[in-house]
Amino acid sequence: MFALSDQPITEHPLLRDYTHDEAGALAVFEGRVRVKNQGRSVTQLEYEGAEALAQNEFVRIEKEALDRFDIVEVRCVHRVGLLKIGDVAVWIGVLAGHRGPAFDACRYIIDELKKRLPIWKKEYYTDGDSGWINAP
């Protein structure tokens, strides 16, 4: 399950009631806003996403993870909008019978998500400048 949200991730409904009788492990990855990027001081970040396309592409990544790893369920929430230092930008939780596949799938999902989901990040710096990350 996947959601884009313009509200704090820590309060998102997908993070609640996340259990399964078969699952002895929950591996969670959180990506957070960092103050320094490539030597520049960041004041805030803005994320923009293409929601329906992101949703469809996440379903593919989720299916790949379920095929490759012995896991039970995947949930992911990605922020859009303005974020401050320390805010959670992305949350991934993988339920599995055991911890090995839970960690492996979590790593796979965040790596694929970063490469494939149509989500863009604009950084605002202390010197007043701003820019989209990966813009040429």
Binding site: A52, L53, P118, K121, K122, W132, A135
Partner: protein, 81 residues
Amino acid sequence: MNTVEITYYAMLKEQRGRASETVQTDAGDFNALYEELRATHGFRYPRERLKVARNDEFVSWDTPVRDGDRVAFIPPVAGGR
């Protein structure tokens, strides 16, 4: 002549100055459609830096343009390590 709805995101939205537009085009595929729009609006991205999506699914650049397509050109994503 096909009528398509283009959505722009992030850097392309800023370069175009708007989030979407309806375009009439004779372009045969998405490659030709992007080159047509790039010539008109002066987009800085070469096609090789972008992906293209039709009706909320990624497709290849040589996919034929159909009337009523919803098209998005996808700039390089946030990434990170």
